[in-house]
């Protein structure tokens, strides 16, 4: 057996823009789908109980407020409890404190509260993910957080080799 340098693991490194954007796209899709399902379930329930049909208008202030509250709950609760949303778990990234320690629940909630600020000025707040040295967006800087890779690339590489070895017929 020969010594070879270990395959680089990115675990703990600052996560890049593509991973973060993909995670957010998944979260937006999932949270919007769950919200739409919830509205449909409410409509169905009201119809069963009262016999009246309820239709939801997307531009209705009630729906907009409910959607914003739901989004805040979805992101805020996920970050406060585990430091990651469903999309972030899928992409293997996690929110931590700026110094790298585990996120405090309060910081998770603050991050969710200031998150919309990054959308202001044509989304300039997100530019930090690209150009800031620690890939921190405006809401990260305000909440004192950072996003890191939390999956083990080394383990994934070994799993890949294992699958290859299983597929290769023995000599």
């Amino acid at each position: 057996m020969t010594a070879r340098p270990a395959v680089v693991s990115y675990q703990g490194n600052y996560a890049g823009s593509v991973s973060r954007f993909a995670a957010y796209a998944i979260d937006l899709t999932v949270s919007s789908a769950v919200f739409a399902l919830a509205l449909a379930a409410i409509s169905y329930g009201v119809h069963i109980v009262t016999g009246h049909d309820v239709s939801w208008n997307r531009s209705s202030p009630v729906v907009v407020v409910l959607y914003v509250l739901w989004q805040f709950f979805y992101f805020g609760y996920s970050w406060a409890v585990s430091g990651r949303t469903f999309g972030m778990a899928t992409l293997g990234i996690r929110v931590v404190r700026a110094d790298g320690l585990v996120l405090e629940p309060r910081q998770g909630i603050v991050r969710a509260l200031v998150f919309p600020l990054s959308f202001l000025l044509f989304g300039l707040g997100f530019l930090g993910i690209l150009v800031q040295r620690e890939h921190r967006a405006l809401h990260d800087l305000i909440a004192g957080t950072a996003v890191i890779y939390s999956w083990d690339a080394r383990a994934a590489h070994l799993r890949f080799l294992a699958r290859q070895a299983e597929l290769t017929p023995p000599p």
């Binding site: 010594a3 270990a6 593509v18 620690e134 070994l158």
Partner: protein, 152 residues
Amino acid sequence: MEAIAQQVTERVVDLLVSALDVNELAARIDLNALLDRVDINRILKQVDLNALLDQVDVNAVLAQVDLKPLLDRVDVNDLVSQVDMDALVERTDLGAVIARSSGGMGTEALDALRSQAVGLDQFVDRWVQRLLRRKEPAPLAPPALLPAQAQP
């Protein structure tokens, strides 16, 4: 007459040997000079090592070896660090064990998705650094996570 001479000679030799200090005599012998004159290779050529080893009870020898102090001197971490895990997984049944025990299609898809995303992250980051003409490398991880990383 001859018998008498024989008896006298034997008696003299006995007296001489008993009077000699053999240890002192041995101490005067230069063993190194003596061994220099011995052709050890020639002797070894004549020795049938296989036959010699056949007579050795290796189990009995090993039973007398105290392995603990021997193992205490072995740096296991250094030993393990020299193991090429990639080759081990590729060439042994260990790969199949890992593949069976570490999930199926879901894990495979996640590994692929995450690897692709990391590759694109790095590609984008390289171009941004180039456009911004940054020469100093950016920190790879938050301070608390840097020492925990085997490789940055």
